[in-house]
Amino acid sequence: MEPSKAKRVLEAALLAAQQPLSLRDLQSLFEDVLSPDVLRRLLEELRDEWRDRPVELLQLASGWRFRTRAEYMPYLERLNPEKPPRYSRAVMETLAIIVYKQPVTRGDIEQIRGVQVATQIIKVLEERGWVDVVGHRETPGRPALLATTKKFLDDLGLRNLAELPPLEALNQTLELANER
């Protein structure tokens, strides 16, 4: 198949996808095997073609997917007056601990936050598909070990955990602040 035609097939598939498409998914579109190099080049070309458009092609943890640019959200929100609720601080702090300290138990989270963690909070994150149980710690009660999922990375536009904002080194900032 002509590369230009293959690119249009990729575009159609990615525009219609209901989840990010992995390189393997994208390979399966073609009867004749497309080399990974060619595939990657076509995807990058496609991403460039969409550079100045209201929709962007992103490489995420589980594959490639188109999404609307953030600047268009204020308009799109008007279509659905029911805004998705922002997560509470309790949810976001719990998420941050799971993200940066994973795998963690609920006990670990409570230890760091200094308060009980309501079941509801974990449930919100699990139902969103951002967090799941990856095992159990071999201590009394065999508490569940929580970790983040690929969907979490996808939904935040990240390819892997290393792309997360780095933790701030607090001690130093503080000392510097005091010196002033």
């Binding site: 799109l76 997560y87 936050r113 996808d154 904002p165 607090l170 001690n171 503080l174």
Partner: protein, 292 residues
């Protein structure tokens, strides 16, 4: 080590925004010495995620080094809030009381003379564990904010999901020879078939050619020339066996009264036409006029 724990007017590091709205007024910081109405206390209690959060707030507001916390004033202030909340009969999470006990314990340990440290070792600061927890919690608190600042699916962007109309492509069932065979065997099993339903290969060929002839004549009829010359029914390039089968099919069709063979007189061309056609074509057809 001891410094006064004097709240300053400096903007607290993490309280750039009013942390609570009391009676419609933004409350940029906690009223310390004033009477705190119970409603306001309730809002405050909600504004903090727990005792560590409250402690961090007090420390940041006073602009003191978290590594060198003046324990006495901090403990005093913390207890003041806790007491106020208890006095207002607010349901205070047990963690707040536990933290109060921890602070008091640290404060008293700091008043004791230091035990002689082992050579080359510094005795551990009684505040060390609390400081470690405060730093870790603050780090997570800031991480939570920077996570919140990232673009979230459905909140800050929407996924593109163009409609795929599945029915645009019609999936047709596939049929193999085995499927056909199975279907026929299924019919035989139903037992109503007797010997004459056994079909030999030769007969199948004849049957195929019966269809071919009927189609030839049908097409001729549709083109307004229902009468087809016998010779033109045969494709001589196909070899003798096929010609024979074709002829047999023709005879079978005539026998089944599906076509009509006609010849005006001896040695003139033979014509075929569909029997059905005679129903709606003129009865007194003069074969002679076709000749020529």
């Amino acid at each position: 080590m001891v410094s006064d724990f004097q709240p300053t007017l400096d903007v607290p590091v993490q309280a750039l925004l009013p942390f609570a709205m009391i009676y419609g007024q933004p409350m940029a910081e906690m009223p310390l010495d004033l009477y705190i109405p119970p409603d306001a206390l309730a809002v405050m209690l909600e504004a903090f995620e727990g005792p560590l959060d409250l402690l961090l707030y007090l420390i940041r507001k006073a602009n003191v080094d978290v590594l060198d916390i003046p324990m006495a004033p901090l403990t005093a202030q913390y207890l003041k809030y806790v007491e106020a909340m208890q006095a207002s009969n607010l349901e205070l999470a047990a963690e707040y009381l536990v933290m109060a006990a921890v602070l008091i314990e640290i404060k008293s340990r700091m008043l004791l003379p230091k035990p002689p440290a082992a050579i080359g070792e510094e005795g551990e600061d009684p505040r060390a564990e609390l400081v470690r927890r405060l730093i870790e919690y603050e780090q997570m608190k800031l991480a939570a904010r920077s996570l919140d600042d990232l673009d979230h699916a459905d909140r800050d962007f929407a996924w593109v999901e163009v409609w795929v109309e599945k029915s645009l492509i019609q999936r047709l069932p596939e049929v193999t020879l085995d499927d056909l065979k199975d279907a026929w065997l299924g019919l035989l099993r139903q037992a109503s078939l007797n010997k004459h339903h056994q079909i030999r290969r030769e007969e199948l060929s004849v049957r195929e050619h019966m269809g071919i002839i009927l189609r030839q004549l049908r097409d001729a009829g549709e083109q307004g020339a229902p009468h087809v010359r016998f010779e033109s029914m045969f494709d001589l390039t196909q070899g003798v066996p096929v010609l024979v089968v074709h002829f047999l099919a023709m005879l079978e069709l005539a026998r089944e009264n599906l076509l009509e063979l006609s010849q005006a007189e001896a040695f003139t061309p033979i014509y075929l036409r569909l029997k059905a056609m005679s129903m709606d074509s003129e009865v007194n057809f003069d074969y002679g006029t076709i000749e020529g």
